[in-house]
Symmetry: C2
Subunit: 250 residues, 2 copies
C-alpha cells in the first residue's frame, strides 16, 4: 500500500450529514458491513487501527470509537498486541438495529425475510397469549388505536405499513415481558422488507384487517388460546401473500 504524498485528503464530501452519521458512525457501518457480508470471517483478524485509519481517511481516535461500538454489538473483541478478531456468529447481536440492517444488506431479500417470518411465527403467538392474560387497559387501547389506524389507511400503503408495525409492537408491549422488546426489530424489518418485496403485488387488506381485528378481540376478551389461534392465522395469511409474491417475481 505504499503511497507517496501527504495524508490529508477528503476535501470533498458534502457537508450534509444525517443525524447519526459522524465519522465514527460511518466507520462502524463500513466495518460492520464488511463483517456481516463475510469479507472478514469469524475468527479472522481485522486490519489494525492505523490501517483502518488510512482506508477511511480518519484518525485513530475515530477508528477506535467505531471499533468500541462494534465491540458493544458483539461483533468483535480486541486485545493488545493481537488486534481485533471477529467473534463467532452466535455472539453477534443480530437483533441490534444496525447489525440487522447490515445483515439485511448482505443477504438476498427473500432469504432474509423468510428467516424473519420464521421467528415471528414462533414468538408472536406466544406473545399474543401473554397479552391476552396480562394486557392493561392502556395497552389494549394502543392495540385498538393501531388497528383503527390500519383501517383508515387502507388506501395509503406506507401509512398502512406504519400502522401495522405499531400494531405488532403494541402487542409485544402488551405481553408485559421486556425481554420481548428486542424482538421488535424483527417485526419492523420484516414488515419493511415485505413491503419492499411485495410492492406492486397483491396485498389484500380486505382479508388482513379482519384477521388483525380477531386478535384484538381475543386479547380484549382475555382469551389466550383464541388470541394464539388468531395470531397464527394472521401469520399464515402473511406467509401466503409472501409466497404468492415470490411466485410472481420468479
Amino acid at each position: 500500500m505504499g503511497h507517496t504524498g501527504q495524508r490529508r485528503r477528503k476535501p470533498a464530501r458534502g457537508p450534509q450529514r444525517k443525524p447519526g452519521s459522524r465519522v465514527h458512525s460511518e466507520l462502524a457501518a463500513g466495518i460492520g458491513r464488511r463483517i456481516l457480508d463475510g469479507t472478514y470471517q469469524p475468527g479472522s483478524l481485522l486490519p489494525n487501527e492505523a490501517e483502518w485509519g488510512e482506508i477511511f481517511g480518519a484518525s485513530r481516535t475515530a477508528v477506535r470509537e467505531a471499533i468500541k461500538t462494534l465491540n458493544g454489538k458483539g461483533l468483535l473483541v480486541s486485545r493488545p498486541k493481537i488486534g481485533s478478531r471477529v467473534e463467532p456468529r452466535e455472539r453477534w447481536n443480530l437483533l441490534d438495529r444496525d447489525v440487522m440492517a447490515w445483515h439485511r444488506a448482505a443477504l438476498d431479500e427473500r432469504t432474509f425475510l423468510l428467516s424473519l417470518q420464521e421467528i415471528r411465527r414462533i414468538l408472536e403467538p406466544g406473545a399474543a397469549v401473554l397479552a391476552a392474560q396480562r394486557r392493561s387497559p392502556q395497552q389494549l387501547a394502543a392495540l385498538e388505536k393501531a388497528l383503527a389506524d390500519m383501517q383508515s389507511a387502507v388506501a395509503r400503503s406506507e401509512a398502512m405499513v406504519a400502522a401495522d408495525v405499531r400494531f405488532h409492537l403494541a402487542l409485544l408491549a402488551a405481553a408485559n415481558n421486556e425481554l420481548l422488546a428486542p424482538f421488535g426489530i424483527v417485526i419492523e424489518q420484516a414488515l419493511a422488507s415485505m413491503f419492499a418485496y411485495t410492492t406492486s403485488h397483491a396485498v389484500h387488506p380486505e382479508q388482513m384487517l379482519p384477521l388483525h381485528a380477531r386478535v384484538v378481540k381475543a386479547i380484549a376478551a382475555r382469551a389466550p388460546e383464541a388470541a394464539r389461534k388468531a395470531m397464527t392465522e394472521l401469520l399464515d395469511d402473511t406467509d401466503e401473500t409472501l409466497g404468492a409474491a415470490a411466485g410472481a417475481q420468479a
Copy 2:
C-alpha cells in the same frame, strides 16, 4: 509450519485479568449498571464526559470509549451540546451479555428468572420443531453428546448445569435460524440463575434426564410435533422445580 516443537511455557500467570477488564470496560459496566438499576431513567441526561472522568478517575478518552460501547448496546445516544441521553427501554439490547448481566443485578432473582422462563416457554418448543425438521447429523450428534454429558454428570451439579446449557444451545443451533442465537443468552442466564436459586433444594435428575432424552429422540426421528410436546413438558417440569424451590424459600 516446518517443525512443531512444543513450546509450552508460562505456567504461572500473575494478575490473571479477565479479558474485558480494562478501564473503559469498567467504566461501561459502571455506567451501564446505573442505567439498568434506574439511577438514570430513560430520557434523562447523563453527566457529561468530564464529570464521568472525575467520578471514575479516568481520562475523557476512556470515558468516551465506554460510552461508545453503551451506544452500541442501545442504552444511550449522544449529541453535541446536548450530552448523552438514556434511550427508552424498548431500544435496549437486553439480550446482550453485558446488559443482561446488569439487568440481572438490578432485579431480584425470582422476578428475573420468571421473565426468562417465560421467554423459554415461548421459544424453545418452536425451536424444537425447527430442529426436528432441519437438524443436520452433526447437530443431532452435538445434542446427543450434551445429553450423554448430562447423564454422566448426574452427581456433579456444576458439570450438570454446564451440560444442560450445552444441550439447549445445541438445540437452538439445530433449528438453523441464526436469529435464534441471541436467545442463547436467555438460556445461559436462566440455567445459571436457576442453579443459584434452587441450589440446596430438590433437583431431580431422575425425572429431568428422561425428559431431555425424549426431546432428542423426537428430533432424531424428525418428528416436529413430538419434539414440541417433549420440550414443553421439559419446561413444565423445570417450572415445577422452580415453584417448589420458591415455596421452600418463602
